[in-house]
């Protein structure tokens, strides 16, 4: 028998600020989120609002041991725990499990640049590389980069030590993290989980992997839905964000007196071979599996990449004709692994605030990662 799964805590930080209220207010106000040029690369980014790290990561030594993506994740996770009334309950956190969608951390771009410069003239490039990696890399950088250390840091800083799993794979990782969390709780395999992800866009090495494939927008802001189809115009603007949800079975929430902010339905993900029409087809296949979804709102994780962004819009016109569609990318940019968790967080917030009763968050990753997350009113 499937158990009903509810959201009891929402934690989100991004260009729109800290906390779900700031996000709902900014999205309601319309327009778009702040964009600036990342100083070392010149690429546009939606930078995170300035945060007082001490408020969620009290120890400076912990802050120092983390890279920005880990700090963002830790911060958002702390907000979610606070909202769920779990922060001051060590026993609860000791059995709470984590699933984190993560990529890797930022590189030491100064060291990378120096080594690449030196390699050009090096008589023995192999020996040169060994020598400089050994002497120039900070020993702790490894831990600040390792994918599973976002989860590791949340365990250390917040004491969420049930167990953790880290999913990789860009946007798909965020969808699967939510899918597996919901499914495990629904099946009774675990009672309470903290699920989410984080991404730091404010670094010059961030866009490199995606620019190799021509998926990044190079100029300033344009709305996600109006980015054209030329390389450098169509594409995402990366955004810094951390987003976490506390998910638990409805009984578990009730037993500990936690308020259900929204109900999360089984998450639907679809694997398609990308070709014209495949996104529309994926949505057509996935939608019926959401149950009788008649959303008032859709929080779209669309990237702005052509033609998949237009395909998603067309599919939503058919599937959710009455719904207002907001492109989260207009406000917070594209936080890669964190994009589905961020969209789900906003969707849950809309339900919790009473602004909507049925909201679908979408993901159409830049290369893969189609998924739908439906949040509904808990009563």
């Amino acid at each position: 028998m499937r158990r009903s799964v509810v959201v009891t805590g929402i934690g989100i930080v991004s260009a729109l600020g800290e906390g779900i209220e700031a996000h709902l207010a900014a999205i309601a106000a319309g327009g778009h989120g702040p964009v600036k040029a990342e100083p070392l690369s010149g690429y546009p980014v939606h930078a995170v609002t300035p945060l007082e790290w001490d408020r969620q990561i009290p120890k400076k030594s912990d802050q120092r041991q983390m890279e920005a993506w880990q700090r963002l994740g830790c911060y958002a996770a702390g907000l979610a725990l606070d909202a769920a009334g779990a922060k001051e309950d060590p026993a609860l956190k000791g059995r709470m499990q984590l699933v984190v969608a993560a990529g890797g951390g930022e590189r030491d771009f100064a060291v990378d640049g120096q080594i690449l410069t030196g390699l050009r003239e090096a008589a023995d490039p192999g020996a040169y590389l060994n020598e400089h990696l050994l002497s120039d890399l900070r020993p702790t950088l490894f831990l600040a980069q390792l994918s599973n250390l976002a989860a590791g840091n949340i365990a250390i800083v917040h004491g969420v030590t049930g167990a953790s799993r880290t999913f990789m794979g860009e946007e798909s990782a965020g969808v699967e993290a939510l899918r597996i969390a919901e499914a495990r709780i629904a099946a009774g395999q675990v009672d309470i989980m903290l699920a989410g992800g984080s991404y730091n866009a404010e670094r010059p090495d961030g866009p490199l992997i995606y620019e190799l494939g021509g998926f990044v927008r190079r100029d300033g802001f344009a709305p996600v839905a109006e980015r054209g189809d030329a390389v450098g115009e169509a594409g995402f603007i990366l955004g810094s964000a951390g987003a976490f949800l506390v998910l638990e079975s409805e009984e578990h929430a009730a037993a500990r007196g936690a308020k259900a902010l929204a109900r999360i339905e089984p998450v639907v993900s679809v694997r398609t071979r990308r070709e014209p029409g495949s996104v529309s087809q994926a949505f057509g296949e996935a939608w019926p599996k959401l149950g009788a979804a008649r959303p008032d709102r859709v929080i779209s994780g669309a990237t702005g990449i052509a033609p998949i962004t237009a395909e998603e819009s067309a599919a939503l016109d058919l599937l959710a004709p009455g719904a207002t569609v907001s492109h989260l990318g207009d406000f917070i940019g594209h936080p890669m692994e964190a994009s589905a968790p961020a969209a789900a967080a906003v969707a849950a917030g809309l339900v919790a605030s009473g602004a909507a009763r049925d909201v679908v968050a979408t993901s159409v990753g830049h290369r893969r990662g189609e998924g739908l997350v439906r949040l509904t009113a808990p009563d």
């Binding site: 390699l119 490894f142 590791g152 490199l208 390389v231």
Partner: protein, 427 residues
């Protein structure tokens, strides 16, 4: 046995296919022969220059081609070979049409130095290179293949294509327990009734200069035996001084016992339980009281519906670092008690090195081989016993033994502790 559910009423999870690649060879038989002969696969690194390195040996897999030669392609190739073997043994589905989910533990690899150099060169920058130059190189559009190659999700995506698995494949990392987590995810999916079968793989082909140096900078690697590669990894011995990186892949086909029996498949064993516990003590070190390790072991045994006395062999995490082996022994003694002194435990890593992301899957595969062959692979290089670890480590030579229930341990940086209970028969 005809039970199709376990003592908790959940679908029983059977193993119907096993596949292996390590530095000792390709396939179950080659690996088993070498392991039970006490042979080491650790050797001097040939793949890249070793000048200046404090550790210049590894258990690289040098007999598999990869084009272009880089960690993700190598990891994909190992996974393919292991999964080919496992799927063929299981005889499940048609070729390229595996009727189940895919869970792959993949190393978190990023663009590597050869590619970074190519991109820098394409930028035309002749002065100091910065990421702005690399981005200019990227904008030439000449390196689109690198994008796909170095995405974290690509290895799993390509494997999903090759094997025709169902649904979105999951790429995961729990550091050095990743392979065990892949199996755990498969077990859970079958127990939920979400799928009747799962292909669970752990793979790692990431022995390259930067990966090695990163571990070296954390003082995790053995540095004492560059001239004696085969003697380098000394799990549980007093003179152990670190791990040696290894490569390879392990793959299991998991299937609900019910569907395996219905199609008349040969059941090789069962994954009866999986347990885990996080550790918030430190980024690389275990809680000094060993509590999280103890809890993970207990959780796995309880999940299997067994008692500590039911464990009759331990496939150790056994990396050969001073810290791991001490804490692992402490944890086992706490759970199994005095009896642990006579429960055999051995470390496959003494021979194949620490295969990192792949280790949990490779060692689960070898745990099954141990049961199937009734023979315990040894812990080699055990010359100087550590009085703090009074265990039967199956020193240096394989030994015949009837094994029905194995505990396979995996522990990793970031407070990851995952344990599996693998058995010949359900209880």
């Amino acid at each position: 046995m005809t039970a199709t559910t376990d003592s908790q009423g959940r679908p029983l999870v059977a193993v119907t296919g096993i596949g292996l690649v390590t530095s000792l060879g390709q396939g179950r038989d080659e690996n088993w022969a070498a392991l039970t002969a006490g042979r080491s696969g650790i050797h001097r690194i040939q793949r890249f220059p070793i000048e200046g390195l404090r550790t210049s040996i590894a258990g690289t897999v040098d007999f598999v081609e990869a084009e272009p030669f880089c960690a993700p392609v190598l990891s994909e190739r190992f996974a393919e070979l292991a999964a080919d073997e496992a799927v063929a043994q299981a005889g499940l589905g048609r070729k390229g049409d595996f009727p189940g989910a895919l869970f792959v533990a993949v190393p978190p690899v990023e663009l590597d130095w050869p590619q970074r150099r190519e991109i820098a060169e394409a930028s035309g920058q002749s002065g100091d290179v910065t990421y702005a130059d690399l981005l200019a190189g990227a904008r030439t559009g000449r390196f689109a293949a690198f994008h796909e190659l170095f995405l974290f999700g690509t290895v799993a995506d390509r494997l999903a294509d090759r094997f025709g698995t169902v649904g979105v494949p999951i790429s995961l990392s729990t550091a050095c327990s990743s392979g065990a987590t892949a199996i755990q995810l498969g077990v859970e999916a079958i127990r939920r009734g979400e799928t009747e079968a799962a292909l669970c793989i752990g793979t790692d082909g990431s022995v390259n200069p930067e990966s090695l140096i990163r571990f070296s900078l954390l003082s995790a690697l053995s540095t004492s035996s560059n001239d004696d590669p085969e003697g380098a990894v000394k799990p549980f011995a007093k003179n152990r001084d670190g791990f040696i990186m290894g490569e390879g892949a392990g793959a299991l086909v998991l299937e609900s016992a019910e569907s395996a029996r219905a199609r008349g498949a040969t059941i090789l064993g069962y994954v009866l339980g999986a347990g885990e516990k996080g550790d918030g003590f430190h980024r690389t070190r275990s809680s000094p009281d060993g509590r999280p390790i103890i809890d993970a072991i207990r959780d796995a045994i309880a999940d299997a519906g067994l008692a500590p006395d039911d464990i009759d062999y331990v496939n150790a995490h056994g990396t050969g670092t001073p810290e791991n082996d001490k804490m692992e022994a402490l944890g086992l003694m706490a759970v199994l008690g005095e009896r642990m002194k006579s429960v055999p435990i051995s470390s496959n890593k003494s021979m194949i090195g620490h295969t990192l992301t792949a280790a949990g899957a490779i060692e689960a595969a070898l745990s099954l081989m141990t049961i199937l062959n009734g023979r315990l692979p040894p812990t080699i290089n055990y010359a100087v016993p550590d009085p703090a670890i009074p265990l039967d480590v199956v020193p240096n030579e394989a030994r015949d033994a009837q094994v029905s229930t194995v505990l396979s341990n995996s522990f990793g940086f970031g407070g990851q502790n995952t344990c599996l209970v693998i058995a010949a028969e359900p209880r």
